[in-house]
């Protein structure tokens, strides 16, 4: 066999090993990611228990506590775990001519939780506090003076950061006051 062909076979063998390793990583990673994200597997529970929202109108403040747990049942680290809650408040604004409906963001706390090793579980609480701008609220607005809406973002990377997934829930009604 010509020396050029021998060299070619060596490079080709290297490429084959490289491609097979990459395919194995993508197949294993993809399969594990599907296993973790599968709703019936109960690997991701946000919230895991009662969600606590303390609305203190007197002190114009609010606190949120969300217990959660995330299990990594896959073969790679579940990394870059990120949670973010945003709460918006809708009210009649007395500083405008017609008490126009105004929406302001009263809570926005992004939090990162690092990585979870394979087979381990992260059990933690997401917590944060926000302030309510109540000085311009039209308390006689109907049907409610204050309405609260929440948005939620969860993102994480998997399989040596080759896959990143994000779940975003927008404008879910949290409740109202009074």
């Amino acid at each position: 066999m010509r020396p050029s062909r021998v060299f070619r076979w060596i490079v080709r063998a290297f490429l084959l090993v490289f491609t097979l390793s990459l395919s194995a990583v993508s197949i294993l990673g993809g399969w594990s990611a599907v296993t973790i994200l599968n709703p019936s597997s109960d690997d991701i529970n946000i919230p895991d228990g009662p969600l606590t929202v303390n609305l203190d109108i007197g002190n114009s403040s609010m606190d949120i506590l969300v217990p959660f747990n995330i299990s990594n049942g896959g073969v790679y680290d579940l990394s870059n775990i990120f949670l973010r809650f945003q709460v918006e408040m809708t009210f009649g604004n007395t500083s405008t001519l017609n008490n126009d409906t105004t929406t302001v963001q009263i809570f926005d706390t992004p939090q990162s939780y690092g990585s979870i090793l394979p087979g381990q579980t992260l059990k933690a609480n997401y917590s944060g506090s926000g302030s309510l701008p109540l000085s311009e609220v039209d308390w006689f607005r109907s049907p409610y003076a204050l309405e609260f809406y929440a948005s939620f973002t969860f993102s994480a990377s998997y399989s040596l950061n080759l896959y990143t997934f994000t779940v975003n829930i927008i404008n879910i009604s949290l409740g109202h006051y009074p």
Partner: protein, 171 residues
């Protein structure tokens, strides 16, 4: 006989490439286009779906056609070297098309009782870029083959004549 065998080989590989570059991705994207999880619809937008399918079909057809000419060409011929190189470059463009068609960052709308309540996004761009890297190394290999077939044309022909007694070099 060898000629017909080469054509048969070309057709087989063309079919393999049609399945792997067009049929499997088409079925996968059609399957994930609308999934229902716990009663909630997870929907891929129609525009995004059509864009992805268009680019997959366009490059898939080109790759399959080139695969026929590549695999039906005689071994170590300049024709095979040329088509193999073209096919690898098309493969790179095919993988790149996943990025610019939006297939590497799929965004599924979450629809609950007709209302859109959010989205799920899956980003596999890093994985696709890594595959691009591997294909780039293959381009070097095919380029090397191409020049090897040109520079050692005489040796290759002598070897071919020796193995095919009385045969003609039709490459």
């Amino acid at each position: 006989m060898g000629r017909f065998l080469n054509i048969f080989k070309g057709i087989i590989y063309m079919c393999v490439y049609i399945v792997t570059t067009m049929v499997i991705p088409f079925l996968t994207f059609t399957w994930v286009k609308e999934v229902q999880i716990l009663g909630v619809d997870i929907v891929l937008t129609q525009n995004e779906y059509e864009n992805i399918i268009f680019w997959i079909s366009a490059f898939g057809l080109l790759i399959s056609a080139t695969a026929f000419f590549n695999y039906s060409s005689p071994k170590q011929s300049i024709r095979k070297g040329t088509f193999a190189l073209v096919q690898i470059i098309l493969n790179c463009l095919y993988i790149w098309s996943y990025k610019f068609s939006g297939a590497t960052e799929l965004r599924f709308e979450i629809v609950f009782e007709i209302t859109n309540v959010g989205f799920i996004s899956i980003n596999v761009q890093n994985m696709v870029m890594l595959y691009m890297g591997v294909y780039f190394l293959t381009i070097i290999l095919k380029g090397y083959d191409f020049f090897d077939f040109i520079l050692n044309r005489k040796t290759i022909r002598e070897k071919r004549y020796k193995t095919t007694a009385g045969g003609n070099d039709l490459s």
